[in-house]
């Protein structure tokens, strides 16, 4: 396994980034076009935003976590001028984190063309200030990695996820941090997960998180297993769930974090991204793959792994996405998009350990600045939607 260090960007909170990205954040759909035009042609600038006019505490927490991510060097918040979410408040919080930030309302700057021009000028000054960040050596113990799977096929549970799990075990043994989620795909594994708790508190958190995911599945009357899964060879829901959980490896689970919350210390952490039961019912847990990837980035993951058996073309803002397939045919068909072929363990040309070592090498070179395939292609999909976590109960009302 590679014993490696690389140069990172030191942030005032002590965390280290592997990129020094500028982020444009828009606060309502009406500002989305201007935000993207400001970032157009700026290689170091990514865009995220929230489309809703009515604000949502979950979405604000998520945007603030992303805006203060270790890979982010400076932030420009752009609003239209009449929405609930306030760009100036976002900029204040970012400024307090020790990063340069700016904000403005389009309505106060004369419309589209003037706002784009003004935004580009602000971006240039942010870039100037962000470039003064201190460079420091960084290693595995400074790294947080997330993993998601989507567009799965039979190879995901056999090769893609188990190879990531083997890497997770090794990363944690080096003092690093790893996060996994998708608790609604863990049905039937209450004891399997709880038995991996590092502490009695962690066990309680895992049991409660599992029970919440199960209540969610019951309330929407859907479990993650379908007739096609059985026809394809899966026999029980436990078997399918274990294939998804295989990406977490075998190390103890330190506890449960929620979206926009970061792990308290190194080790393996489970993320609960299932909405709370609230006055709007549950809502959706992960409406698409990108939403889950945003959750993992919000925990401070500097790199996210995405296991896709059938093949996906998405990327992500802020944290580079490394796309992994367990299907050698998919790797050949989509070689411009997929970064890593774990299918070598199935055809016998590699072993689980060798594949995990070579994945670690790819992660180290990505951390050192090498661009992943989605980064090179310019894929920066993002998704922030209304959701409720840690919100007041039905009795307390929506704005208590």
């Amino acid at each position: 396994m590679p014993e490696t260090t690389w140069q990172g960007y030191l942030r005032p909170d002590g965390r280290k980034g592997i990129r020094n990205t500028l982020l444009v954040v828009y606060t309502v759909q009406c500002a989305q076009f201007v935000a993207h035009e400001i970032a157009q042609g700026e290689q170091d600038t990514h865009v995220i935003g929230f489309p809703g006019c009515y604000d949502n505490e979950y979405a604000i927490r998520l945007m603030l976590a992303l805006a203060r991510h270790p890979n982010v060097g400076g932030v420009l918040a752009v609003g239209l001028g009449c929405e609930y979410t306030q760009p100036a408040r976002i900029a204040e919080v970012v400024e307090r984190s020790g990063r340069p930030s700016e904000s403005f309302f389009i309505q106060e700057h004369g419309g589209t063309a003037e706002s784009i021009h003004y935004g580009k000028a602000l971006l240039a000054s942010l870039r100037e200030r962000a470039s003064k960040v201190e460079r420091v050596p960084m290693g595995w113990r400074d790294l947080t990695v997330g993993c998601e799977c989507g567009g799965s096929d039979g190879t995901s549970g056999l090769a893609g996820n188990p190879v990531v799990g083997r890497f997770y075990d090794w990363l944690i043994d080096q003092g690093g941090t790893a996060v996994f989620e998708e608790t609604v795909e863990m049905i039937g594994l209450r004891e399997v997960l709880a038995s991996r708790a590092a502490t009695p508190e962690a066990r309680l958190q895992i049991e409660q998180t599992y029970e919440k995911a199960e209540r969610y599945c019951k309330s929407v009357r859907q479990y993650s297993i379908s007739p096609g899964n059985f026809a394809g060879g899966l026999t029980t829901i436990e078997e399918k769930s274990l294939g998804a959980v295989a990406k977490s490896g075998t190390r103890p689970i330190q506890g449960v974090i929620r979206v926009a919350e970061r792990p308290a210390h190194s080790g393996l952490w489970l993320m609960d991204s299932v909405p709370d039961e609230t006055f709007m019912q549950f809502g959706y847990t992960n409406p698409n793959d990108t939403e889950g990837i945003m959750d993992l980035i919000s925990a401070g993951s500097q790199i996210v792994l995405f296991v896709t058996g059938r093949g996906s073309v998405i990327g992500s803002p802020i944290a580079p996405l490394i796309k992994i397939t367990g299907n050698s045919r998919t790797f050949q068909n989509m070689s411009g998009d997929i970064d890593f072929n774990a299918g070598t363990v199935l055809d016998g040309s590699s072993t689980m350990d060798k594949a995990a070592t070579s994945l670690a090498g790819l992660i180290a070179s990505t951390a050192a600045g090498e661009m992943t395939k989605p980064e090179r292609l310019g894929h920066r999909e993002y998704f922030i939607m209304y959701k409720h976590q840690d919100t007041p109960s039905l009795q307390e009302g929506c704005r208590a």
């Binding site: 039979g154 056999l158 096609g228």
Partner: protein, 110 residues
């Protein structure tokens, strides 16, 4: 005729077929395993599971080193392991599904 299967964890008593296999196909076992090959004793489709050792009725079916269900009858090495001889420990309905299509037999289309 030859086929291959993949065993994920050394403790597992099943492996996943990577190609279709029929009775008397010699199946090469890859992955975390001590077995090198075994004789297939039924028609088993790619993606489905083959027993890599003899399994007694009531034993756990192990994959990922963890129980994915319990054997509802004795299963010999080389046999197909699926809904007809493995029951979920969690989902009481799992063994009432159609063996080929996985469809729920009690759902009425009326």
């Amino acid at each position: 005729m030859n086929a291959e299967c993949f065993q994920i964890d050394r403790r597992d008593n099943v492996a996943t077929l990577l190609q279709d296999a029929t009775e008397d196909t010699e199946v090469l076992v890859r992955g975390d395993t001590q077995a090198t090959s075994l004789q297939c004793r039924a028609l088993i489709r790619a993606g489905h599971k083959i027993a890599v050792c003899d399994i007694r009725e009531g034993d756990h079916i192990l994959k990922y080193g963890q129980p994915i269900g319990v054997a509802t009858s004795a299963i010999a090495r080389g046999e197909w392991v699926h809904l007809h001889n493995c029951r979920s420990l969690y989902d009481a309905k799992s063994s009432s599904l159609d063996l080929e299509s996985g469809e729920r037999k009690e759902t009425r289309y009326a």
